[in-house]
């Protein structure tokens, strides 16, 4: 089998690590003390300015066969390795009261305290990161830790060097962990595609059936390009078709997830408005700023509890609800209550409030965006298979949106407040005649809608930038969702938000992000022409009032 295509494929990132194994073979031929000298020289070279010199040094350290080399390479990869300015010796530095406490990187011996100026960080670039990962993988393939073995096996996937393949086969024989075994089996199957023997290639092909790992598909595509044996060709074509089919399904599932996730953001942003605008009929232009206030509450909570970022959201959610909710009550009591029944003036007044809130944040906190951190449990992705991963942040926010929706639904349908809210919104004078204190209900309803907007702000702070202008980005979308769903109907908001999200994501691949948004907007305008009351119109007298 010709090896050249794979060679050029891997040419780029690193002086490939199989040099290491040859180096290990050569080890025996070189006298020991000169090796130790070479290692020492290489350690000094690590602090060189040129990345080429550093790479050569890493190569030497990796093949040195010194058991302590692994620690040095790992420290280098993690950015923990420093060079002492006096003698360029690589050291590990830990912050201490006097500055830094130094340890020799190789020996681990204590070298005393040092000042910031006494050490210089050894910087690495992407090429070195790749090189270091491969070198570390080679040194940890037989490690007792299954996690390390797994990452080593992944790193060595598709490496064509016969020595590497031998090492993988040896590890495969004695491997007990299922995940590592699977990875190693995949690596062996990929290797057997390059075998001289058509039988071996064929078995390699069948072993790849259904594998969603990108390297499997790439190897099969490559094989089809150069394979001459008809049996192997037919087999490869069949397996590849199967993989493509599966990938398509996964891509569809992914698009659906993205759509639902975008939809959940829309629902979250709109659901507060579904109350203030939908139930109460207040055209609340400050809705976006209430979301912004919620996001800033998250920021302030995180500032107040540094070191506890993982728990900060659980404090931020009630805090944001209270702050935004109280602000909502304040706005209702001081401005909006004088303007009921005068939608144009409400619109202008709330627009003014939105500008005041923006400027308030600008002057009290900062005109710049603030950094809201993600808790560790919000980052990363849930890997369902090699082709489908759902990011945790989106997943949690989807669930969160549904929870908020259910909670609101319960409040409106099952509590006394909910009953009064519905009564006032359906027929104010009748409700008052029956003893409902409509002014109090108005304030509470507006506060509830504002509070929910604040809670939405907490969730959005995890996805997007938090700055004084952030509310502006959501106000149009929110009105769009509420109007599309049908004013005054929570279910309408949910369905409308999710539908618009999925529609947007379905269109994005072929229309682009900008055009997809425009198309959605045009669609809604046309839809409203046809059904002015949205998806789920309210029926009965209230709707006519």
């Amino acid at each position: 089998m010709p090896m050249s295509p794979t060679r050029t494929q891997r040419r780029a990132p690193s002086p490939s690590w199989h040099g290491l194994l040859w180096g290990l073979v050569l080890l025996a031929l070189i006298p020991l003390n000169s090796l130790a000298d070479a290692l020492d020289a290489a350690l000094i070279d690590l602090s060189d300015r040129s990345f080429e010199v550093k790479q050569a040094a890493v190569e030497v350290i990796a093949v040195s066969g010194d058991p302590r080399a692994l620690k040095v390479l790992e420290a280098l990869l993690d950015g923990d390795l420093y060079a002492r300015t006096s003698d360029r010796r690589p050291v590990l530095a830990a912050a201490s009261p006097a500055g830094f406490r130094l340890r020799d990187a190789l020996e681990g011996t204590d070298l005393g305290e040092a000042d910031r100026r006494d050490i210089r960080k050894i910087t690495i670039n992407n090429r070195m990161r790749t090189q270091l990962r491969s070198a570390i993988a080679a040194l940890t393939l037989a490690s007792p830790d299954a996690v390390l073995r797994l990452s080593a096996a992944r790193e060595l996937l598709g490496d064509p060097d016969p020595l590497v393949v031998e090492a993988i086969r040896a590890q495969f024989e004695r491997e007990e962990d299922k995940q590592v075994r699977d990875s190693l089996a995949l690596a062996l199957a990929l290797a057997s595609l390059r075998d001289e023997d058509p039988e071996a290639r064929l078995s390699g092909v069948s072993a790849l059936a259904g594998s969603l790992d990108p390297s499997a598909r790439n190897a099969l595509t490559r094989l089809l390009g150069e394979e001459t044996d008809p049996h192997v060709r037919a087999g490869a074509q069949r397996v590849l078709a199967g993989i493509e089919q599966k990938l398509k399904l996964n891509a569809a599932a992914e698009t659906l997830f993205f759509g639902l996730s975008l939809g959940s953001v829309l629902v979250l942003a709109a659901i507060g408005l579904a109350i203030t605008f939908g139930v109460m009929g207040v055209i609340n232009m400050a809705h976006g700023e209430l979301i912004m206030i919620g996001a800033y509450s998250t920021y302030l909570v995180q500032q107040a509890m540094p070191g506890l970022i993982d728990y900060s959201l659980f404090v931020a959610i009630p805090a944001a609800f209270l702050i935004a909710g109280l602000l909502g009550v304040l706005i209702e009591r001081t401005v909006i209550r004088f303007l009921y029944g005068r939608p144009l003036e409400t619109l202008l007044a709330t627009f003014g409030i939105s500008l005041i809130l923006q400027q308030l944040v600008r002057t009290t906190i900062s005109a710049q965006n603030v950094a809201v951190q993600n808790p560790s449990w919000m980052s990363g992705a849930l890997q369902i298979n090699p082709a489908l991963a759902l990011t945790y942040s989106r997943l949690y926010i989807l669930v969160f949106a549904l929870l908020v929706f259910l909670a609101l639904l319960l409040i409106l349908k099952r509590t006394a407040l909910g009953l009064q809210v519905r009564a006032v919104s359906q027929n104010r004078s009748m409700a008052r005649a029956l003893g409902v204190r409509s002014a109090r209900v108005d304030a509470l309803t507006f506060g509830l809608g504002a509070g929910v907007a604040g809670v939405a702000g907490v969730a959005l702070s995890q996805l997007t930038n938090v700055g004084p202008n952030m509310g502006q980005a959501y106000i149009i979308d929110s009105f769009m969702v509420v109007v599309f769903g049908g004013v005054g109907n929570l279910w309408g908001t949910l369905v409308a938000g999710l539908t618009l999200g999925v529609a947007n994501k379905l269109m994005e691949p072929w229309a682009g992000a900008v055009l997809a948004k425009i198309l959605v907007l045009v669609f809604i305008i046309l839809f409203i022409q046809k059904r002015p009351r949205g998806l789920f119109p309210q029926r009965g007298r209230a709707a006519d009032g």
Binding site: N126, R127, Q368, E508
Partner: protein, 433 residues
Amino acid sequence: MSRRDPIKPILLCAGLALGVTSGLVAHAEDETIKVGVLHSLSGTMAISETTLKDTVLMLVEEQNKKGGLLGKQLEAVVVDPASDWPLFAEKARELLTKDKVAAVFGCWTSVSRKSVLPVFEELNGLLFYPVQYEGEESSKNVFYTGAAPNQQAIPAVDYLRDELGVERWVLAGTDYVYPRTTNKILEAYLKQNGVAEEDIMIDYTPFGHSDWQSIVARIKRFGSEGKKTAVVSTINGDANVPFYKELGNQGISADEIPVVAFSVGEEELSGIDTKPLVGHLAAWNYFMSVDDPANAAFIETWHGFTKDDKRVTNDPMEAHKIGFDLWVQAVEKAGTTDTDAVEAAIIGLETPNLTGGTAKMLPNHHITKPVLIGEIQGDGQFAVVWQTDAEVPGDAWSDYLEGSKDLIADWTPPIKCGNFNTKTQTCLGSQTP
């Protein structure tokens, strides 16, 4: 309607106050040389441009400490065009006609530059523009001290191809003139270098885009087809933060699919957590981390001037410093601040840049600059991983676009033209409609 928009009266007052002060100044002082500062101090661009206003104020202060210019003190006239493009033109007119400034330092976005260009040409003023831009322009009245595409985008692509072995390209940008022109040039350049159509993916997103999941998933799929892939990002402003976050969340690391950005610098990184970004790249002509005595002195002066030793320096600040130094030299050489004399005198002048080299003003009103590629580090700074051997001369008209490859700009006699066609030997004339 008593509860009307409260901002307007405030703005009016501020405007009045500004008018009054600048009016006073104009009457009182005739022995000073005025320098206009045209940077947004409010609105969306304030984040980036406020720093540049401070930079010019610092440069003026430093020059005055050295005894001023032509025996007179320099005086900065600051106006706020408020990130509003037509207002840029108005404020430029005000600076040139009312304050009679000798030179203006200003603008950030290309659209603001395009907006003031006719004003500077009509009133024969001088503008020093400090930001990297898309090229395809050369005006007699503008000096482009930021990078042209051949001083940033093209070398960055060369680096990715030659050093990292990149074969597939994602050109991702914000949807406006700078990314679109730059990507057009890059696409033409890549195709001329034998990159196939299906190995280039182009994607535009609106300003402030925050839902990056499907685009990042597409980039991931595009990059998993066996060829080394890189993203060339002209994404502007705060949309970068959710973009990099999403890359991190979907498990794309810098050594699998590196992202090289043209609009992300120290200032943009100063507000965010850079851990998920480590290893991604940026191409500029200056980094704060460059180890050079001139740079160290500049940073020290900056910290002294702002009384804040956490403030970062960045590429456009260096460009203003170079532009200012060149202007000062040109005025001294010409012995006057007259526009035509300074314009003639400045061409060919040299000044040291902050990275150990020399910046020279070329006949096409661009300058020579080194190109540096830096990797983002955990502390929000860049580590230089590659740089050109020598300074690259800025090229106003791209050699890779059909319409512009025969054009050159040369403001020295006998050509004296910003868009001279070398094939037909004609000058196309004014570029402003």
